[in-house]
Symmetry: C2
Subunit: 420 residues, 2 copies
Amino acid sequence: MIDQNLPHVVILGAGFGGLRAARALAKQPVRVTLVDRNNYHLFQPLLYQVATAGISPDEIAYPVRAILRRQKNLEFRMAEAQRVNLAAKTLETNTGDMPYDYLILAAGGQTNFFGLDAIARHGFGLKTLTDATNIRNHVLSCFERAAQEPNPDTRRTLLTFVVVGGGPTGVECAGAISELIRLVLSKDYPALNLKEVRILLLEAADRLVTHLPASLGEETARSLWQKHVEVRFGAAVENFDGMRVTLKGGEVIPTHTVIWGAGVQAASIMDTLGAEQGAQRRVAVLPTLQLKEHPEVFVIGDAALLAGEDGRPLPMVAPVAMQQAETAANNLVRQMKGEALQPFHYQDPGAMATIGRNQAVARLGKLEFHGFMAWMIWLVVHLMQLVGFRNRLVVLINWAWDYLFYDRAVRLIEGERCQE
Amino acid sequence: MIDQNLPHVVILGAGFGGLRAARALAKQPVRVTLVDRNNYHLFQPLLYQVATAGISPDEIAYPVRAILRRQKNLEFRMAEAQRVNLAAKTLETNTGDMPYDYLILAAGGQTNFFGLDAIARHGFGLKTLTDATNIRNHVLSCFERAAQEPNPDTRRTLLTFVVVGGGPTGVECAGAISELIRLVLSKDYPALNLKEVRILLLEAADRLVTHLPASLGEETARSLWQKHVEVRFGAAVENFDGMRVTLKGGEVIPTHTVIWGAGVQAASIMDTLGAEQGAQRRVAVLPTLQLKEHPEVFVIGDAALLAGEDGRPLPMVAPVAMQQAETAANNLVRQMKGEALQPFHYQDPGAMATIGRNQAVARLGKLEFHGFMAWMIWLVVHLMQLVGFRNRLVVLINWAWDYLFYDRAVRLIEGERCQE
């Protein structure tokens, strides 16, 4: 049993940051309650593979209780956080209020539709497991409907897939849809005319993967073109009614499918702090990751706004969240002991994006890679990080199978279908 | 391309019967359209393992198009059949009417709640993939809620799981829930008091697994008791409001969970034929599996009513459906050639049910097995039958993992939660 007299640390969010923070406090004289709305940790970097029927949901989602089973000073609670009450020091959730002595907010991010409600309603985000299975069900049922559709215009509309946003999410998703269609579905639908299929990647700016060097952005666009993805620069989406996308400038693209990878923002609970927020709702923190005027509250990861050495806000990526988790946990312990706190310094491990079979772009430190070499790096890095040995093995088998046989395992349509 | 002048065979249902019939017609001078509401074949015998978080949905569901990719005279259509128009020789579906020269109805079965609407509304069937994931989500979130519930009565209600029906579905489900809880969840929820958990198996008659010899029924009940499943005979459910089950005789059991394995019936489309129907909606067929007065229509599997050698209706099990598929396909070809049709004779391969780790009951011909030996037979038979090599391998890994580490891979709560 956990000693209830120990200081109580509540961690909100079982993502990369929250899990790491929980682990960092394992041997400390505190009791930890980890709160998440889901009972699983989601390996978000591979979400697009669930969306494109490459792997199954359980291969990238792992029960939190199983991950942290050996940590004796920790309790997990599945609950939806609704509000942080800084004055009363409680986290309010749908299953009751949780008093805390220390709070680590690792609430992560959510899709940012920038107020385009029509896209939020008819399009798909790609941040949650449900998003991913919705996309899978939708894309596959568009093909089923197209197979029975005599009218060529209706068929072309069903077979047009629009991905918005040239960041890693958009690039990976567009590349994976192209491979799903050209390598797998083309065999499932022998009567399908591949010329009727369109995959568009719309980017409002004039380059892709801006978190990578410009040369890799060029490489990415070239690879996508080779996969018959129409990459469109300066293309800003204005509206989508489920039948057609309208771009700024008036162009209209008939389609039932818009996948929105064009924006993220901090989780909406960050609005309840009443604290200073910057772009994308992120809450400004001290270099020690504490909330100004609330030294007992730490904010890490996507939800935190802190400038890096170049003066720009640190990116919303897993390595930032994980490194900040270590710093926040350390500072929390130092604070309990009355020691001086330390500022956060980000060690940038690099960045990458995969475009498909054998193709990726990656920067490690100052080294740039593209093509097969980058893809191997991508594969190893992601497999190493996947939580749980069994998942790693099963994912590896699925990938090996796909690789050898150009197949996709999980092309099941469950629930939500392609609508008019 | 398929020769459109060939006689058109429409097969309704991509279950064990429909798939086998489609394959049996592969080399025949016909064009085949296989219709199913789902794009996958479901390996129903392992559904209860999805419901109890043992394996993931895609391990028992395999895309029909992938299974039948090499069959050149076949087209697949994902559509919901709505009505058979025997006079016009069309199968009416939600995507349009399909004219046929020959029709093979392999529509399978669905849950039979025997008019108990309250149970249909608040309880769970176990016939579809959605049923299974609903049960998984529900059972796991009952545990999450119980972990946060201070009131012991409310907690006991959350932790009471009622399975109705002592056939293989009920037995397998109750046994698997017991193992999920005692071997896995007990570790996930260290504060859980196992004495607050109840699993009840309610059977209206006075024995279990009536399709097996009485001695194996006794063995099954004994094994379930050892797994702390309360087996209740003569217990008929009268009502369930989502909070409590009422039995005939007035007994009330507080619970949020009723899994209904007490009845199946032929798919509702069989009502649209206007043909003679027996118990469980099954449509009476000639020994040649043809519909009386409609020699061009064959009915097979769960949907067909035909007496076996003992004069009783053949059971609604996969071996009957698969053997009838062969006979129906043969008779269809004979009819085209003007040859005499042959009556169906069932070769009973035996029957089995698994009760859990190392424990099953099986009859092969006249031989009876129970315990570890029966379990090994069960394992081999099911692995052999699983469609698709990759699924078999992944399922084997999952099973081996569970077996060695007493773990369950797929304890994810997605979507539907445990409700009040």
